[in-house]
Amino acid sequence: METTHAARAGRGMTALRRTSGIIAAVTLTTSLAACAGGAIGGGTEGGDDVFKVGLISPVTGPVVQEATAMQRGFELAIEKINAEGGVLGQPVEVVTVDDQADAAKSTQLAQRLISQDQVDYIFGTIPGDTTAAVAQVAESAKVPFSSAILGNAGVCGQYFFPFGEPNASLLNGLLPQMIADHGTKVALVGNDYAFPRGYFADARTVLEELGATVVLEEYSPMGTADWQPVISKIKAAAPDWVLTAVVGADATALVTQADQAGILDSMGFTGVSLIADFYPGLTDRMHGLTLVGRYSDQLDNEANKEFVDAFREAYDFSDPIPSVAANAYEGMLMIADAVEQAGSTEGADIAKALGEGEVENGVFGGGSFNEDRFFMTETARFEIREGGAYVPVETFPADIEGITPRCA
């Protein structure tokens, strides 16, 4: 049968309009399938004294890079723990699942880890909303839970022990230095999700105390590739410096386009977009810039040397090691130690031991949970140098001013 071009194209137009619905349906089906069958590893019915950990690692979806780094740090810790005799005399068992950074899946998977896999501890996930979802499930089941990504989790609980850097520890050393170096007019540019908004809310608090003015606050959806309108707004606002909380490929695009527009040369530029995770895509654009954080593979101590060597060898990794990997590594070692101290895999016992525990000579040096359940360590101002060396040039004591919420 003959068809005319226009008629065929007309049918096609109708077809195109049906596309989004079909894709949505297929995606939903696939997602449900992923939920149903995502568990890997573990699998044995643990006895009473076998310590079993559920790892929620969103290695598919929008936070693959952070999840992969976290999982690598976690796995190195498990390897080290088991090589040294395990916990309570038995190897630690791990059940790994992927929540794809989707809070609905996180809730389902946390429930499954607790009720079906009967884990004693839950570790992981990345975004703030999935962390809150898992924390809620874990809290009601009285199963301890830890995250490892930087930023305030935004939730509190008796069984929640986040190992990520609190916002204030990233800001308190940084902001006075930037004001002194560049001036008091600040632009805040972030992605539009929970972490940047919380990070900037804390930044505003500190900046106001320091007498600085926020001349621009802009949030862009994740996946923004064209930053020209934001760059135009930055230029129009004429700040003395820019504080960023743009992450992932967006960070690479923003810094690249800001550099092309001359912003990196004409004003100060710092923040989360400069963390080690994004160095491979930006390299010499970042050289000479500074930021404040907890971790660098350049930290000079024995525990860090051991971790860095193991990480580079295990994963053939030559780029700067992301802090989320170190947080997961140090966190899991501390959890194992707490279970040993508690002499039990009961949630309440582990939580008590963790709250009272203290890390000495870890990859960050020392560290412990404060009464607000933030894991506090020294931080440092790092200067980014050739080859991705984040060299500590100044250290700051653990400082919780400006942290929200307070959980004590």
Binding site: T68, P221, K233, D250
Partner: protein, 296 residues
């Protein structure tokens, strides 16, 4: 004044990129009836080609990207699509969806998820009416629009274009006239795919290159094609201009998140109000009076 110039330059540069995306997608969709949901991943391929071959000078690298785009297009059309046209749009759509997954996960397996970047061959800014603007952005917009113009010229003003349009209209008749329909269909798809790969290659120095990078470009390209008249390449390009203009203006004067919401809401309304596409021809409210038939 500076704000207006900056806005105009931003619209122009975004239009160049979206037009190249839209003409590729419009060619595949309008001429072959295939909803190419892998268009974003083809953009990603172009960006990764530029990243992976960083040691090759920029222009030869672009030519390699063009070549890889053509080869990839031929392979996809011959291996995936050639037996599915008769089974309707759903079969080809799902097949292209599968292709998008294969390309994305393939890139993930080869390059990983860490954002990569490509060095722009030109770092200078240019002063235009008192506004300093990255020269590379302007050059790629001009190049993209020149390519779009060339595609239109070939499609509507050459014998080759006539052959393509004739084949699309009636393959049997084209075949009787000595035109090899399979070759034309394969070639059309390959050119459409190549244009997407080229768009990604040109844009790569502005991007954080990851396997997911193409996802951001699928919606603008779809809407550009939807806003044009059915099967019309100029319509898709006009649609690209509308999307670029709305996107830039809204993002300049509203906050980013609200701008995205308003942009897609407006585009949906436009598509709903004008389901046959935006047409610049005068609307006819009354049927034209037919001239009186004179009996023989």
């Amino acid at each position: 004044m500076d704000a207006v110039v900056t806005l105009a330059l931003s619209v122009f540069t975004l239009f160049g990129f979206y037009a190249l995306l839209a003409v590729g997608m419009g060619l595949i969709f309008g001429q072959l009836g295939v909803v190419n949901v892998a268009h974003g991943e083809l953009v990603m391929v172009g960006a990764f080609v530029m990243f992976a071959l960083a040691d090759v000078p920029f222009l030869p690298r672009l030519l390699l990207a063009v070549l890889i785009g053509l080869v990839l297009g031929v392979v996809i059309e011959r291996l995936v699509l050639s037996n599915l046209y008769e089974r309707g749009f759903l079969a080809t759509l799902l097949a292209m969806w599968g292709v998008s997954i294969v390309l994305r996960e393939g890139a993930n397996a080869i390059f990983g998820s860490t954002p990569a970047s490509v060095r722009a061959p030109i770092q200078e800014n240019i002063e235009i009416l008192g506004v300093s603007y990255p020269l590379y952005r302007l050059i790629i917009a001009v190049v993209a629009l020149a390519i779009v113009a060339a595609v239109l010229l070939v499609t509507y003003r050459t014998k080759l274009g006539l052959v393509v349009r004739a084949t699309v209209d009636n393959r049997d008749m084209a075949s009787v006239l000595g035109i090899p329909p399979r070759l034309v269909v394969t070639g059309t798809f390959a050119v459409g795919a190549m244009l997407a790969v080229l768009a990604g290659a040109l844009q790569s120095p502005l991007l954080g290159v990851t396997p997911m990078v193409g996802a951001a470009f699928l919606a603008p390209a779809f809407f550009a094609v939807l806003l044009g008249r059915a099967g019309s390449l100029p319509g898709a390009i006009f649609g690209a201009f509308v999307v670029a203009l709305l996107s830039t203006v809204l993002r300049t004067y509203l906050n980013e998140t609200l701008a995205q919401v308003v942009l897609f809401a407006l585009l949906i309304v436009l598509v709903a109000v004008r389901p046959n596409g935006i047409d610049w021809r005068k609307v006819q409210w009354k049927p034209r009076t037919q001239p009186a038939q004179v009996a023989a």
